[in-house]
């Protein structure tokens, strides 16, 4: 399967996943198909328990799928991880507390066995990109929540990943900071154009950033709708209060609430 010649981006066909919950099997993800074209930014939104994080963890190779095929740039998730295709960031920055900002950003390079010294310039560039110049030697405990999250974003980008997986990367931030981070993420993403899957529970965040919004439903976890978002880029913060944004917001909200009884 892992030929590397298949079309790039993310292709999922019939992926399923169930967990044991108090001894009883629990279907976290019903047979799911999803294709994210190369360079596309797709947001996944849904209530808790809809399987959106499970979907992301399957793509990252953090959990094995029970069935179906998942290809990341034509590779199986495990192979893609080994080849350094992926970049990943979670809701929690998950920075190693004993490492400086610089060393935290360099971690993926070390794990992949790449030369950190050669990447010095790129790391410095990334630190500047996320606005943390002057904090290179700071420890995570010395940074604010927003700064830590920006370190995590820089870490996700350091390997120049062709596929970026973001699991509610701004979920723990307040609304004001979050909007600013959305703007920054757009700026960074427009320079890299990585294939990106963004898991979120903010409708506005999904619509602001994504080319397409996937709406998921719980019990069992499944994809309920796919909504294209055609606003031109770069999208300004004023988009949040535009009437067409409100209309699309209503459409996503409808898709979220149907099927909930």
């Amino acid at each position: 399967m892992s030929s590397g010649t298949a079309p790039e981006g993310i292709r999922i066909v019939g992926a399923t996943k169930s967990f044991k919950l108090d001894g009883a099997p629990f279907l976290a993800l019903q047979s799911t198909d999803l294709a994210v074209a190369q360079g596309q930014l797709v947001a996944v939104i849904g209530p808790s328990g809809c399987g959106k994080s499970t979907l992301l963890r399957l793509i990252a190779g953090l959990e094995p799928a029970d069935g179906g095929d998942i290809l990341v740039d034509g590779w199986t998730p495990a192979e893609a991880a080994r080849r350094g295709v992926l970049g990943i960031a979670f809701q929690d920055p998950a920075l190693l507390p004993w490492r400086s900002v610089l060393a935290n950003i360099a971690l993926p390079l070390q794990v992949l066995g790449r030369n950190v010294a050669e990447a010095k310039g790129r790391i410095a560039e990334l630190i500047a990109l996320v606005g943390l110049r002057g904090f290179e030697t700071a420890r995570p405990s010395q940074l604010s929540g927003g700064m830590r999250q920006r370190v995590a974003i820089a870490r996700a980008l350091v390997t120049e990943p062709s596929v970026l997986l973001l699991d509610e990367p701004f979920g723990a931030l307040d609304q004001i900071l979050r909007r600013n981070m959305n703007l920054e993420l757009q700026r960074i993403w427009m320079r890299q154009r990585s294939t990106t899957l963004l898991v979120t529970h903010g409708i506005d965040e999904a619509l602001f950033l994504a080319d397409r919004v996937i709406v998921m439903q719980a019990r069992p976890g499944r994809i309920a709708a796919s909504i294209d978002v055609a606003f031109p880029r770069p999208r300004p913060l004023s988009l949040f209060s535009a009437p067409e944004f409100a209309a699309l917001t209503a459409q996503v909200a409808d898709a979220l609430h149907t099927g909930e009884g």
Binding site: A81, G84, I88, A94, L96, P97, P108, L112, A172
Partner: protein, 514 residues
Amino acid sequence: MQRLARLGIFLAVWEAIGRWQLIGSGALPPPSAILVQFWADRAVYPAHVWATFWPAGIGFLIGDAAAILLAIAFVLVPVLERLLRGFNIAIFAIPPITLSPLLVVAFQGTTPQIVLAAVTVYFPTMIATLIGLREIDPRFADIIRAYGGGTFTILWRVRLRAALPSIMTGLRIAAPSAVLGAILAEFGSGSRWGLGSFLLGSMGQANPARLWGIGLCATALAACGYLVFSLLGALAAPGTAATTMAIRRDPAAEGGKTQGPLVVRLALMLASFLMPFLLWQGVLDLLQISPVIARGPLGVWRVLVTGFDAADERAALVAALEQSVPVSILGMAIGIGGAFVLALVTVVRPAVGRALMPPSLLLQTMPLVALTPLVVLVLGRGLTATLTIVFAVTFFPAFLVMAQGMANTPRAARDVIQVYGGGALQQIWLVGLPSSIPYLFAAARLVAPSALLGVITAEWLATGYGLGNLLNEARGELDYGMIWAVAFASVAVSVIFYLLVQAAETLINRRFFG
């Protein structure tokens, strides 16, 4: 300043009590007399201290190296921990003094001290390392794995560094234990040098000031080890604590639990039970100790069951157990009970806890059991002395476990009671008591072997009763079979007690805490 003043008052009161011989007619000499005697003995102290410190240090290194390597192996291969579970519990439950005569007949020179120090440090370091390696933020592992890293990369980049503060905590507890182990191995070794030999040799000299000087010197040695690793731990700690809370627990942290079909679990349980016996026999075979001296599991079986005077041996052992076990349980009940009541008080009066924590930490580092001669000096050779020793070795660790545990209970829970007008008693009854139950069990498991150790040591050195006396007599008569039988019985009693408490704990936790 206030601390200095308090110390001054403490020393003045002690001096007065000593001067006018208010306790045990001169058994507690004044600090000035202890200092004078210490100065008079200054020529012999360096050799005694060195003879204890050196083997304690070597044993500390060997035991801790084994503990850390095995903890790493347990994390990499969880089934290995299941297999060695019985071994770990047995090592934890061994009252070191029962090994002392065995080691002395089997080895020469400082080897018994080294081995006993290594045995006493193994468990605290192993468990602290294991917890440190396991309880990592699971998202750290996710990050490593998303870049293709495996078990070894996670171990190398995350677990080892994350475990450093926990390892230091383990070493901090292990360091005084090593001193205790080395001293206990000197009891009955007949060697001339070492603080334990010095203490034992000075027992009959009617010179309390010298006994106290040796005791304080041993305490200082143990406290030094504790302090060194406290400082190293403080160096390892800054910025190591995660900046955010993990919601998900690392599944590897559950490594100790068994999964899989019943047959596999039963097989593992049986293997885990047999493992200590296999290792016991294995070590004897490996060292090729004369079978006259060394008895394997079958040898002990012969002594107690199939030997020609097995009935007599059994009767002697049962009689000794009947004397030692109730005293252990009584002393432990008093120690844990007292600690429990005090810990409950700290729930509503946190200031009490803050005041008691530092002296408890200090007293926990004292090689209390090794100071039995001092207690005997003050309290005589009766039951009171034994109970006091057991109380002292169980109270402080139990209090620390419970007070630290209860400090973790959310304040909000008590605030809810207070908002509805609940007083101190209701806060204790409704919040303090239920939240302290798990820590009560943890404390009981932790201190049970110490209680038995305290009783056996007191019996050996002072009261001439029970298991300790039987051990001492067997040693005098070179009755190797009986020495092994007593050691085996002590470990068995300790392990059974451990398992009983654990079973009760599991039952109660499942019943009340989901």
